[in-house]
Amino acid sequence: MKSEFAFIALPISALIAPSAFAVQYLTVDQAQRAIFPRKSFTAAPVNLTSVQRKAIERASGVRVLRDEQQVWRVSGGGWFIVDEVVGKHEFITYAVGLNADGSVKQIEVMDYRETYGGEIRNEKWRAQFVGKTSKSPLKLDSDIKNISGATLSCRHVTDGVKRLLAFYEVALKR
């Protein structure tokens, strides 16, 4: 017997629709509980001075785009930080839990959004799709839960964590 492996092509309308792939994994509250179960949190936002910003940039080699940083102090020691990074194709909100000694306890992606512009506005490029859709188009499942394809790098988040570790040294450590 042959395998049931079948490819279901999406209709043209799905290709021309605005392009976005987004998942919300955790709210701030959920991320706090995921990284520090059974702890309490005290908001302790930080506004960086330009001296601090430069010190962080020098130490991490990563640019600081915002002076305000969302930080919570964790009961019993440790820090919970929410941060955002923007890449060429992605916009990611993530949370980092730091142990009392400043080491990384856990990283959780909270919001993941991929956005793409340009390619579909190009009429010539778009014309390639015409007449090439499936004969049995399926209703587009707007909730794409899993996508397989070329790998998107997590470099921006890795750089963001590097920046937050320098932020800890400059603004939180005492």
């Binding site: 049931e4 492996f5 959780e108 499936s134 394809g149 790098s153």
Partner: protein, 299 residues
């Protein structure tokens, strides 16, 4: 993953150079979270062992020392090296982890502080007890196979923790388990913000390779990290190859082989009971290979 009074927990973390998403379904959210944490720990362990960037990883230790002396690696690294060796042999070197040299030259990987030259997978000796030796000065990178292995370990961990259904997706290398089939979208090879279509998977893995995010100009021509070890050429076309198999490690490795060999990879796919899907630049499939012997269809 729907059933009466069931919950689904979904998490994502940056690991293996990409985003790893793990979902698990069941009755008790706390138990699911613990299982997902354990599964992420397995992925993190693969990352720690097989990262090219981390100087303490097995991969870096081999690249530094294996030409001079035997290097003892973790049993997991040994399994991946054995898997890679089999795929190199069965593809006549199309799949070759020593192409790391070229990836360094094209700045896809950082230049390690060791001497290395143009060598092949045949110069890697897998000795007894997880020891590895290089016959020639060379470097390896497990980027083309370790993600699939990590997905398999994560699935194994979820199952061992009593999870009944789950999905692990490491930057496009996906594996699903549980009684309900799952729809996995496949990125459009030339417009990866869109899905070109989808595949239904049940108790199966699927990996996809494409070069949309990684293709770049090297002088006048395009290069990509998807290299044919036999010809030394890199993929340039905005096509994508998906391979479905029982486990994710073979699916991962086979995508690279099908990318180069296309239809000529059929016998190898058959041997691994794998299916393949080749999407052209316009998103339309130009080749679909069905594994002839069916071990997974029990609907």
């Amino acid at each position: 993953m729907r059933s009466r009074s069931s919950v689904e927990v979904r998490r994502a973390r940056p690991l293996l150079g990409t985003f790893v998403q793990i979902s698990a379904g069941g009755k008790d959210a706390i138990a699911l979270e613990l299982a997902i944490n354990a599964a992420f720990a397995a992925v993190a362990e693969v990352h720690r062992l097989m990262s090219f960037h981390d100087p303490e990883s097995d991969v870096s230790r081999m690249n530094r020392d294996a030409f001079h002396k035997s290097v003892r690696v973790h049993p997991w690294t040994s399994r991946v090296l054995k898997g890679a060796y089999e795929f190199s042999r069965n593809s006549d070197g199309v799949f070759d982890i020593t192409t790391a040299r070229q990836l360094v030259n094209w700045n896809y990987l950082p230049r390690p502080d060791v001497r290395f030259s143009s060598r092949s997978w045949r110069d890697i000796i897998l000795e007894e007890k997880c020891n590895v030796r290089f016959r020639q000065p060379l470097i390896v990178d497990l980027g083309g196979i370790a993600k699939g292995f990590a997905v398999d370990r994560a699935i194994e961990t979820l199952k061992a923790n009593g999870v009944m259904a789950g999905i692990v997706n490491a930057g496009g290398d996906v594996r699903v388990f549980g009684s309900t089939p799952q729809l996995i979208h496949v990125r459009h090879p030339a417009a990866p913000g869109r899905a070109a279509g989808m595949v239904r998977l049940r108790e199966r893995a699927m990996a996809t390779s494409g070069i949309y995010f990684t293709r770049k100009k090297d002088g006048v021509r395009y290069v990509s990290p998807l290299l044919d070890g036999h010809t030394g050429r890199s993929a340039r076309e905005l096509i994508s190859v998906s391979v479905a198999a029982t486990e994710c490690m073979p699916a991962d490795a086979l995508t690279k082989i099908v990318f180069s060999l296309r239809e000529k990879a059929a016998p190898l796919l058959e041997r691994h009971r794998a299916d393949a899907l080749l999407l052209e630049r316009d998103g339309a499939p130009s080749w679909i290979f069905h594994s002839p012997c069916d071990t997974h269809d029990q609907t």
